[in-house]
């Protein structure tokens, strides 16, 4: 494994309005081939962190250093199903940024997109309409699009919520494979049990609470600081349950 981290974040604070930071005190580095869970309550700044890394938040302080291209994978619950595109068309969108407007989408781009679809196990669904796919399949198509961007760093917003358990496991397997290729992946999640399966975990509650390997990091004290009063600790700290307050 190479020595330099793909992503370095030093003293970063970011927000949407002047003087108000949605998330702050961010200090961490991600090496290539690492699968990092970004853990925190709703409104804890997970999405803000991802948007700050993409450079899309107007207010930002500190230093973000990325050695490689960054791709973003949105939640599929937000995708449009009435849009006339096939799975392959969506993955092809990943190649658009690199293609000048006067050049047509050619065989090279098609091969990149088909390979990416193969990587997520959907080679057979290339011509299926995006809206006709299941939630888990749509999530994998969006991941394939990030792969087609040829990004070394992938930011995923809650890819495991809103899909059934079997689909979540397939998505997880895809994420592990992408990690094994030497990419760095940051995966927002609010599921503590899920986070334990990652290489590292970043705990957020408006600010960075902790960062490190799951076993030593996810202590009862860290979880309580991350989730505040929403947390119920079981089994003397070995298990924890989060009481989710879903807003409508």
């Amino acid at each position: 494994m190479s020595a330099a981290p793909l992503l370095e974040v030093e003293g970063v604070a970011a927000g949407y309005r002047p003087g108000v930071h949605a998330v702050e005190d961010l200090n961490f580095a991600v090496m290539p081939g690492r699968l990092v869970a970004v853990l925190g309550p709703n409104g804890g700044g997970k999405t803000s962190l991802l948007r700050a890394l993409l450079g899309e938040l107007p207010e930002r302080r500190g230093r973000i250093r990325a050695r490689g291209r960054i791709a973003y994978v949105p939640q599929t619950e937000r995708s449009r199903l009435d849009y006339p595109v096939s799975a392959l068309d969506v993955v092809l969108m990943g190649t658009y940024a690199e293609l000048p407007w006067y050049r047509r989408v050619g065989t090279a781009q098609r091969r990149i997109a088909a390979d990416a679809l193969g990587r997520v196990g959907l080679a057979d669904s290339a011509s299926t309409g995006f809206g006709a796919l299941s939630g888990g399949q749509r999530q994998r198509v969006l991941i394939a699009r990030a792969v087609a961007q040829q990004a070394e760093i992938l930011l995923l917003d809650e890819p495991l919520s809103g899909v059934d358990r079997a689909s979540a496991q397939r998505v997880m397997a895809v994420l592990r494979e992408l990690r094994d290729d030497g990419r760095a992946l940051l995966v927002a999640t609010h599921d503590i049990q899920q986070a334990r399966e990652f290489d590292a975990v970043l705990c957020l509650n408006r600010a960075q609470v902790a960062f490190g390997e799951p076993a030593p990091t996810l202590t009862a004290e860290v979880l309580e600081r991350t989730y505040g009063a929403e947390l119920i600790v079981l089994d003397g700290g070995r298990r924890a349950v989060v009481v989710q307050h879903h807003e409508h």
Binding site: P84, D89, M93
Partner: protein, 287 residues
Amino acid sequence: MLDALIDPFRQGIGQRALIEVIVLGLACGPLGAWVLLYRQSYAAESIAHAMLPGLVVASLAGLPLTLGAGAGLVVAAVAIVFASRVARVGADVAVAVVVTAMLATGALLALSPDVPARLGELLFGDPLSVTSGEILVSALLTAGVLIALGARHRDLALAGFDPATAPSLGAAPGRVELTLLVLLAVTTLIAVQALGNLLVVAIVIAPGAAALRVASRLIAVLALSAGLAVLAGVGGLYLSHYVNVAAGAAIALVAIALFALSLPVGPHLGIVRGRRRSPVETIGARA
């Protein structure tokens, strides 16, 4: 049979009208599909109304109608942005206020008894009145619209599909939407002469809506939409020739009929999810 097909276009008037509807169909069809995908139908319907005062003033002053219509559009755009952004009423209310006021201004100018203007023609249009010069302008503008749609195709596809991710894929949604509205304005400018400012929306929206029900890939949707728009224009000219109804209204009716034919076919797309909505939630504009 062949005679019956050729008959409407034996004279210069008919030939010019034929070229005009083909040219404007080529611009309106694909643009309309994008307008629908970006949920901008209200803008498409109303932007044409806002041209009326400009059209009336231009026709009174003997200026080219395109110039007056363009000026009307600029005023309307500025006023709508002011009303929705600065005065912070909703976007749909802003459109309603500005467009109603501008439509009424046009009617006032045209209907006040001292001013003999052809309000009917400006409201409902007449493809049989276009001159060769106007066709040339239409063709140039159409070429411009098609080139812009081609050049911005990938940005439009990206930002329409998911605006949140589009920036990281190289397309800024705000800029893309602005591009679409500018192209909509230019297209309306092309079509208003033939269809009048009340009926323009038919040939913009109906072919796109039909194409979206029948085809399931973007390129197919855009091509089919262009084809249907041209078909509506030509079919409308036949209808007008043989049934003797106003040509603009005939084109609008054929376009709507083509859409109605597509109803039993679709939709391939649009699996509707989520909770049941009340009638107002279904019909009320969403931000």
